[in-house]
Amino acid sequence: MSFQPVLLWSDVLLWLLVFAVIGLGAYSGRARHLRRSWKRLGKSNVATAAATLLCAFLLVGLLDSLHYRQRLPDAPGQSEAVYAVEALSALDGLLSHLREHNERTYSAPLAARAFVMETEETTAGVTRVYPRLHYGGAHLEDESGKAIDVARRALTGVGLALLCTALVAGVVFRRKPQSDFAWRGVLSALLVLFLVACTLSQLAGDYHVFGTDKVGQDVLYQTLKSIRTALVIGLVTTLVMLPLAVALGIVAGYFRGWADDVIQYLYTVLNSIPGVLLIAASVLMMQVVIDTHPQWFSTSAERADLRLIALCVILGVTSWTGLARLLRGETLKLRELDYIQAARAFGVSSVRVITRHILPNLMHIVIISLVMDFSALVLAEAVLSYIGIGVDPSMHSFGSMINNARMELSREPAVWWSLAAAFSFMLVLVLAANLFADAMRDAFDPRHEG
């Protein structure tokens, strides 16, 4: 084998979550009261467009969650295979030219020459010039042809994108879909995605489309790698939060009495501590634990990965209170309804009443709040990483990109591309999530009916 698969904890969790979501979707597709809501969701063009965009982000994130270690070339007299220490992901493999084409330092988007002057010795003496980049535009004999080359590649990209979209549209409409599923939303989102992806892939081979950062790394590569971190934070956190919120919320609302008192006390205490401070305190503590136990981690990637998961756990433990309070209130109302009173009078056990009658009627609240929390968590990651209590500094994330690049705006002329790339990718991700959440709420919340 030329590679050895590596399982990082966050990979396992992310894949598990994806399967869980698919399973949940399949379950709720069969449950009649939820199927109607899904259908309503499918009729909205905004919802399907946002979902398509989110799927694209998810695809990048999942590709980045298949890690392996490359096999090193055999040394003479070596019997066993030796693998590289560094764990790469499938995305790294696909983008190997972006990962390896490092310049010396900053370069502007699509530039052929470096951003800072360097001393060059020629026969005429020592001169200060902007040197040519090692990779960016290196294929050009004559730099004056750059504009034409870029335009040609961009046009090819646009052409390809139109072709791809037309193909998909052809397949969809050939089969003449009977349902009123909002294909227009999917197709317009796909058009945008293909336009961006094709243009980028045409240009990225020989240029740094978003420029390079201080150590010469391609910004496009960093941005794509950051997507996984954002997804892990947004999704794995819910894995921690959901069981806590659902279990405690329902128990408090259903059994009332002392259980209710204890749980209410617990979430009032957690709620009353300012969120950022509670997270900061927990992260500081986690950092101390990690720093005092270096023997737990064999590689730095493993340490960064566990730190990411610990951050998710902390965010989950500190953010279940809102959902738990909602579920408690709703359970209080539900348990007084006639059919549940009847079930109890027949002697149906509490566990069965909760799982058969209460939980299904709370599903819409759970689904809505999960989608709503996602965008908040993605935004929170950036802020936490800026404060220095976010992900490991060695891990690519929107927050650390912003944090590393914010001082560069004060340079003359300003280095703006890292910030612009991080902010715009984050904006698209969060905007898609917000729009999808809105559509979900309209479709699933019975109060929004009509």
Partner: protein, 326 residues
């Protein structure tokens, strides 16, 4: 009223005790003072004596809960829990890593924090309520649709972008205001304009959209239909009836945060170099000054509990149907 406030104060005590125990557990039991000493001293100088000295200087060399070696009441008081956690109830927060008294530092930094937070809060509330009322007034028109779309867009932009972008455009490129800093006296306003504007703009998307839904919920109620049937003009209905009734849910969300204004805004203050409590907290987090973080957690929760109490009281002021005594 007085009895009610008193009762709420008594309820607040167990919650504060809970916060105190939780932070104590986080800061002293998950990792010991030895770990903290090692963090603060750095890797190079860590010897057993250095750690003992560090702990003794800060009073961390006592047992956690029970000091069997001390005499009399000292068995309970000569402990880390009593000295470091319980004394916060008396307003004694101890000293920061640089040796300064935390309580004094907090009272000195409250002013700048309030100078930013209060105008941001008032302006933000005013602008958001006005815009939301406008969107609700023109509901189901193109203005409403694009207004909500704009709100969602504004909500989706990271708060960091507003600050970094605003600072770059207004302070660096156009040089209208100083980039960061804080002045004394009348000149202060030049430093305040930008952070306040950014704070208002940054919060506008989410709150306008939220208030709009609150207004729209009122629009469909029976009393509004009655008012229309009576022939009242739409403007009177909005300002006399809907605005007043929607103020109740708006108040719940708003009053809770008023005491927390003292804490300042973490990001704004640290970006603009304002010597308030927000930047104090950020500095403490970044330099891992556990004593300061612990104090801020305690103060923050106390302020939040006061906020909850104020919310309940404000209910009775705006909604005569609610009686506190019941």
């Amino acid at each position: 009223m007085f009895a009610y406030i008193l009762r709420r104060l008594v309820y607040a005590i167990p919650i504060l005790v809970g916060v105190n125990l939780l932070t104590f557990a986080l800061f002293f039991m998950v990792n010991t003072p030895d770990d903290m000493a090692r963090m603060q001293l750095g890797v190079k100088r860590v010897t057993a004596e250095a750690i003992e000295k560090w702990k003794a200087e800060r009073g961390y060399d006592r047992p956690l809960f029970w000091n069997g070696a001390a005499a009399g009441a000292g068995k309970a008081t000569e402990t880390i829990f009593f000295q470091k956690s319980a004394r916060m109830f008396l307003g004694d927060f101890g000293r920061a890593e640089d040796g300064r008294d935390i309580a004094r530092e907090i009272s000195a930094r409250m002013g700048p924090s309030l100078a930013i937070a209060v105008p941001t809060f008032l302006l933000g509330l005013g602008v958001a309520v006005t815009l939301a009322l406008m969107l609700a007034f023109f509901r189901a028109t193109a203005l409403d649709f694009w207004g909500v779309a704009l709100c969602v867009l504004l909500m989706s932009i990271s708060g960091l972008f507003y600050i970094i972008g605003g600072q770059f455009v207004f302070a660096k490129v156009w040089q209208l205001v100083p980039i960061s800093g804080f002045g004394e006296g009348l000149d202060t306003w030049r430093f305040l304009v930008l952070p306040i504007t950014i704070g208002v703009v940054g919060g506008i998307g989410a709150s306008t959209r939220w208030y709009r839904t609150l207004f729209l919920e009122e629009v469909n109620k029976d009393y509004v239909r009655t008012a229309r049937a009576k022939g009242l003009p739409e403007t009177v209905i909005f300002f006399r009836h809907i605005l007043k009734n929607a103020m109740i849910p708006i108040l719940t969300g708003v009053v809770v945060v008023i005491p927390s204004l003292f804490m300042g805004s973490l990001l704004t203050e640290s970006f603009f170099g304002i010597p308030g409590l927000g930047s104090y907290t950020i500095d403490a987090i970044q330099s891992q000054d556990f004593a300061v973080v612990r104090s801020m957690v305690f103060i923050g929760s106390a302020l939040y509990i006061i906020g909850l109490m104020l919310t309940d009281i404000s209910y009775t002021l705006v909604d005569p149907r609610i009686r506190l005594s019941s």
